[in-house]
Symmetry: C2
Subunit: 225 residues, 2 copies
DNA sequence: ACCTGAACACCGTTCAAGT
DNA sequence: ACCTGAACACCGTTCAAGT
């Protein structure tokens, strides 16, 4: 089969960073983090594993690019989407939903806090905080806290998702953890015992939003004093 | 050299889960996560790599045990240490300092949110929240939010620590990131530009505590309404 | 300039064989 | 019961050789 030639003189099926990242995302979504190997990636792209290194530095750079591709598509400009507080809630939910759809993104964001995807989120949240009238130093602290919270919950959620992707498994998994928690000595772990009952039924997305609101309430309280 | 025999009939230098975990912590502290291999561990314990599997299931179980060993020693009972709010700040700082001393713990906590070390932290924080008079469901949400924040910031901090352990390197590293941030288009990244100046000088521990206080203020605000 | 694929230097884990 | 260490089935990455 003759290779198609495009106007730019490259073969239509030539490798490129974009095609590699796209294929990587596909593998990650379909079969999880452990399935992404350079051999699997090369096979899917019908090329040699060494070829990938011509377009991308290493596996870490590939994961950074993949996470950024997902987050960039999701964290967009929020100007004119209501109050800053509404906008922050929407940004946070966007990231949450992105990780719900691509659990490996949660893991990847935690790996390098300074990667483009994180800078994107930080900027997004920060711009909205600027709109609230709080001191500059408080803005840095607030943005950092919000992003940390976002990242922390996303990571936990992603960890569970990676292990038990499907809905029914998830509920069973949480029930198993809850019953494991109640094995502990109730005298030593009273809180864990109390919460175990709520664990299998709780809605992660709702709980995530409750945390964001707690933060926003805290920022508000700081403003009025 | 004859093997010493203890009263329990085991050789004094016999392998045990405790000795393995101890050696693992030592390797992780000294040379970082990538240095912990079963071969290195076996060499340090003067045994075969297969022997370790008699005492511990796999590498994941080893990391879980190592993280729990560190956290258990640090997150202790906080009753009578002042107000619940004071106690929560102290617990959070204890975890922060533990991760400062053992960066790999931050990475490990994020890997499995249901591991013993995390349950420990969750219980610790939760007990203090119970002391505040907030609704049961709000307790779950608040504890989850606090622990998520703790985990998120710890993970980020650990990621930087793993890459640049020493103080001077750290400052240089943050300066490099800040100057990389200012390369971005100021029109697209106004907040990141504003914050870049503060990045190299900011105190992580202080910022961490500021986030905790934001949370506590938010919880307080919810109580009074 | 871009791609191939064998080779290198590792991993975690298993398991027959020893004591 | 506990330990040994070779062997297995992988990795990411490199690099001489091709086009």
């Amino acid at each position: 089969m003759a290779a198609k030639t495009q106007r730019n003189g490259r073969r239509a099926d030539a490798l490129s960073k974009e095609r590699i990242v796209e294929a990587a995302i596909d593998i990650l979504d379909r079969d999880g983090e452990s399935a992404l190997t350079f051999r699997a990636l090369a096979a899917r792209l019908s090329t040699g594993s060494g070829a990938i290194y011509w377009h991308i530095a290493d596996k870490n750079a590939l994961l950074v690019a993949a996470a950024d591709a997902v987050i960039s598509g999701v964290v967009t400009d929020r100007d004119g989407y209501g109050s800053p507080r509404e906008a922050i809630r929407m940004i946070a939910l966007s990231v949450f939903d992105a990780i719900d759809a691509h659990p490996w993104v949660g893991t990847q964001l935690a790996r390098e806090p300074w990667q483009p995807a994180m800078v994107h989120i930080f900027e997004s949240v920060g711009t909205q905080l600027q709109a609230l009238s709080i001191a500059e130093e408080a803005q840095f602290n607030s943005a950092s806290a919000l992003v940390s919270y976002l990242l922390g919950l996303a990571t936990q959620y992603a960890a569970v998702m990676q292990l038990v992707p499907r809905e029914t498994d998830r509920s069973a998994f949480l029930t198993a953890i809850a019953s494991q928690w109640t094995q502990h000595d109730p005298a030593k772990y009273p809180f864990v015992h109390q919460i175990a009952a709520q664990l299998p039924e709780h809605d992660d997305r709702e709980q995530f939003l409750a945390g964001i609101d707690l933060f926003l309430a805290g920022i508000d309280a700081g403003r009025s004093t």
